[in-house]
Symmetry: C3
């Protein structure tokens, strides 16, 4: 019995299932467009082997370790590093055994589906992971990882990735991207401009970061105009490494368009003497500035709003960022985006992609906005919601108001490289299931469904990101 | 192949589909009760032919043109008038061609279903709209419109409309309604009292509007008591033209019951020197006053809360109201309605219908409120949500708490006359699909489902609106 | 024809239905774990017969009478007592007749399903309730109630209840629990520590209640340390009557961890001179204190947040609490719980169960929190949502993020004793329907589904509540 059901995620009614399968088969082999994610470009620059199964599947994946933590395993016991460099579990077999013994915790989750897909389709495992199969599966994966065929570039090609975008901070020198380009390897790995550290006054070391931005660009970033010029220069540098997009991760979707008052606000936040509201206003002002720059330079703008980062003070103090304790919160878009939209929302040549962790905004706010403003498109379901049910709810609550063509295909948004084919497969199956449902209920004609399936699996992402 | 699937919106499981079809067939031919909408009474007063396909289907329908705008077509290119009377596209064939070439944008939307239904069932078209069929479809519809059988009164009769309510401002002289009455035509077209322009201090020309209300009624509307008396008089005037209901479109559902302080607040807002919060408080006070008047005169009160009107400053400046840029927002009902409900909520002879654009309130707020207070009923899904999925979510999240009998049938709430049969058809099919699902899962007995189907398609609207 | 469909709540697609039925049959006869509810311990202490059908099914059940009230029946006409002892309907046959004649109002509601289940499976009725069957059904139920087999203890045993927890206020002397223990009867009825009256400064008689807490425990509850010590003593007293859990019903989920400032806040609220925000802060502080005590004494902590109690001022004035006018409201957990979670959220030996009336928090807040913090588990859908659709939405929006093992089985949370088997049956069927859906769409293996079905129906509740 295979680890994954060949008909998984399709509707169960036989006629619909047949149609969903036919739709899926028409897109299953399309290349993967991965326009937003967090893979490490060093993998492709250096093409070293992945160290071991635990460091491939457990230690770096907050989807995986947060679930184990929620059931009483400690982060150190899973090998998750401490910021002070203190001791954590260093035996990957022990980490793997802890993971395998608790694999039932993932029942019904997309993590289980992604992992099973990777285990079966990337590594050829045939038995479900459990305490009993822990050792054999570790040995099997380890033996694979030792082979050339499991190095990053080989997997990239095997995964049929047409383009993969990584995400780098504005101060990154993009040396890995340079190395990829100079290596002669033909895989298309591009960067994305992520300026959080130089636009968020509450980011650790903000003023020093802004100074460094000046040093990198030769602009005087102690002035508002010099600071904006430095962004322009840095965006151009990122574009020279293939970037077609910027990315902005803010706690809220607040935007501002303060005109002349912006310079004074910049001086205030740069001085370090500012209120939380001023920090938020400055982040909001910078979204509008970035949108204006996108109108100039053609870069697609992504807004990922609404994550309350580092919710646990204790986990943040000991283990730092991205440790599974980022929790979504209620997010307003209607009021928050108005200043930006009044400035540039009616520009058809601008593309702003909106992502949310608050599903209540899909039908109430995001689809009505994207179904009116030419500059807006909806990014796919994000983070906790890039799953079968998450995709279903996204389609059911947005399509009726903004259709398919104000959405932007799929993002995997992952740092778990081996899960990329699995995630795109889940998205393609989920979308085909939805399309089959539309056809079966007379809401879409069958030939249209085959066209839309191509659009959702491939074309819309490529077009939205200008790839 | 027909444009519309005869089994559209029914469940796909064969046994359920058969039951849904049987339920639907039992209500498909019932007359249409259209107790709330925005048709122009002039159509029925004058009975002129509709000018052309573009002005019938595109130019006045913000559902249609906002989608085209969201994909880069400009409002002027779609013939949407400018407030300054400046030039816009005046060739209806060009407008139609732009619409037809982008008809795929509507895939999966209720607009496509309503349009296809009208094209097929009202005009007899047999080919899907597209760039290829644009000209032929234009010619075909135009040829129809030239016939007597496609004039407003003939269509009204063909659509089997038992009663249709339009919506007029408090200052309207109802001359069209008078003309309809005096014409001898037997179609029942009634008005609805919509006092926004004289209860909202932020409405353009509020003070002048209130003065005009005084002039129309012979009351001194510079005093609080005179102002209330003028409303009473005006409501009576509307009732003399068949009105059984009032309608209130407010940004929030806030209500107040200020007692003696109301007079001072009225003086303040009438002076023009007031804060946004005072404006909101006054609107809230007037909801309670209107509810008290409804208790006196028996008019049903409709509250449509939560639309953030004219979101785009630019579109509003150039094209004015109702141009597809009204965006829903989060809406509170539990706290907001308490003053009104403490005043009159326990009155069984009063009917207040609540409408929301915030679906999260269905299960959390509206169904619990309507399932307790005798004065409350839930209006049907509104605006972005009067669709298959919208109706499904409404039933699934309200029925378990407030049942069917605290709801009020269907409203089409449209200014797109030809879509009326299509919209009621979608509602009837969607409700029958839901009822079939209940029967199929043992939550309702089959004979009960047939009764409820009648109630939802016809009886509840008629009773709720006292028609 | 039976009153209840033997295949109710199962999916309609035949293959899925067969699987759901098989899953259900594997758990249908498991004992009932009822770890949270509001049954009266006096029933089991005294084992008197239930007075009559109206007092069993209508008068005490706010689910039932609020629906009748919403359609115009008055609370007095349903026999619901007045706080002033004034006259209400005293003829149970008249109350029953009013209920029966309006039984169609419950179509599609879980109340109808629970009532039909009780009528059929507890009392053996075979005809649907209606005006026509009112008298016969009254006579039939009355005849049953006169028999020994329908006394509380006999029903408890017939319902196969392994353990039932009632809920008592901190000041309760637990005399009924003492009587049960001393009676020699072997039914396991335990108590739960519910300190609302002594932790909520806005509760009627708060200061007197705190003084009484001191008197009961011999602690000086005029001081902060004495007050905390009194809670510890009282919790121990409740544990001596089987309590394994505490329960906290707060309007919000706010928590605080004020350190030394807590003592001053306690003095302030005890003085009676405090603001609503100080009252809320004190409740929040007490949640954190209670969590710390749970860490000491092992009691499971339940937080039921978000009910706006006594929404109708008129109903509250005349009829008091729990009369169907408690309305849910929006609830924040992410910010609200942070102080408590920073204090004790990472403790694996602590169990805090979260309940919400705001379904939007399932996927956005609760599942991400429970899928990270070891101290958190999600309680089952509560109050308006412990229904087929409510359970479906709960599973669909939480499982993908926090899995099954961060949830805690089912609670009936009822004061309607005869509905207990019906409610657990609905939960078991709904969960099995969901599991069948997962298997049918390749998201769970069939043998796993049988394991999870046991967990959801029995094991998880028992473990979460340490029973």
């Amino acid at each position: 019995m295979p680890l994954t059901d060949p008909d998984r995620l399709f509707p169960t009614e036989p006629r619909l299932r047949d149609l969903a399968r036919a739709l899926y088969e028409s897109v299953a082999d399309l290349p993967i467009i991965s326009p937003h994610g967090h893979c490490d470009p060093a993998w492709f620059a250096e093409n070293d082997r992945f160290p071991n199964p635990a460091e491939l599947f457990v230690v770096p994946d907050h989807y995986v370790f947060r679930m184990l933590v929620s059931q009483g395993v400690s982060l150190p016991d899973l090998g998750v590093p401490r910021v002070d460099g203190g001791p954590v579990e260093s035996d990957p077999r022990k980490i793997w055994a802890r993971f395998a013994a608790r694999y039932h915790l993932f029942r019904g989750t997309p993590s289980a589906m992604w992992l099973d897909h990777s285990f079966e389709h990337v590594f050829g495992l045939t038995e479900p992971l459990s305490a009993e199969t822990a050792e054999a599966s570790y040995d099997h994966i380890e033996a694979c990882l030792a082979q050339e065929a499991f190095r990053p570039r080989a997997l990239f090609e095997r995964f049929n990735i047409e383009v993969l975008a990584t995400t780098e901070g504005a101060l990154d020198d993009l040396s890995h991207h340079r190395a990829i380009r100079e290596s002669g390897w033909h895989g298309r790995v591009i960067t994305t401009y992520r300026p959080d550290a130089v636009v968020d006054p509450e980011f650790e070391g903000f003023a020093a970061n802004v100074a460094r931005l000046g040093a990198l660009t030769g602009e005087d970033t102690s002035t508002w105009q010099g600071y904006l010029a430095a962004h322009r220069a840095r965006r151009a540098y990122f574009r020279s490494f293939g970037a077609t997009a910027t990315d902005h991760g803010h706690p809220t979707a607040r935007t501002e368009d303060l005109g002349d008052a912006a310079a004074a606000l910049f001086a205030k936040v740069l001085s370090g003497d500012f209120t939380p509201d001023e920090a938020d206003a400055f982040r909001g002002q910078m979204l509008t500035e970035m949108a204006r720059m996108s109108l100039e330079d053609g870069m697609v703008m992504q807004i990922h709003a609404g994550s309350r980062r580092n919710h646990s003070a204790g986990v943040f103090a000991i283990h730092g960022r991205d440790k599974g304790f980022d929790i979504p919160g209620r997010t307003d878009f209607v009021g928050a985006l108005k200043p930006l939209l009044d400035a540039v929302g009616m520009e058809p040549s601008l593309t702003i992609l909106l992502f949310t962790l608050d599903e209540t905004t899909y039908g109430r706010e995001l689809a009505p906005l994207a179904g009116a403003y030419p500059a807006l498109r909806l990014g796919p379901p994000w983070w906790f919601f890039d799953s079968y049910e998450g995709i279903r709810r996204f389609r059911e609550t947005t399509t009726e108001t903004c259709g398919f063509y104000n959405t932007a295909g799929f993002n995997d948004d992952t740092r778990a490289f081996c899960s990329i084919p699995a995630r795109h497969d889940v998205a393609r199956r989920s979308d085909c299931a939805y399309l089959a449902q539309l056809v079966g209920t007379g809401r879409l004609r069958e030939p249209e469904a085959f066209e839309v399936a191509q659009d959702l699996a491939y074309r819309l992402a490529k077009e939205a990101y200008r790839l």
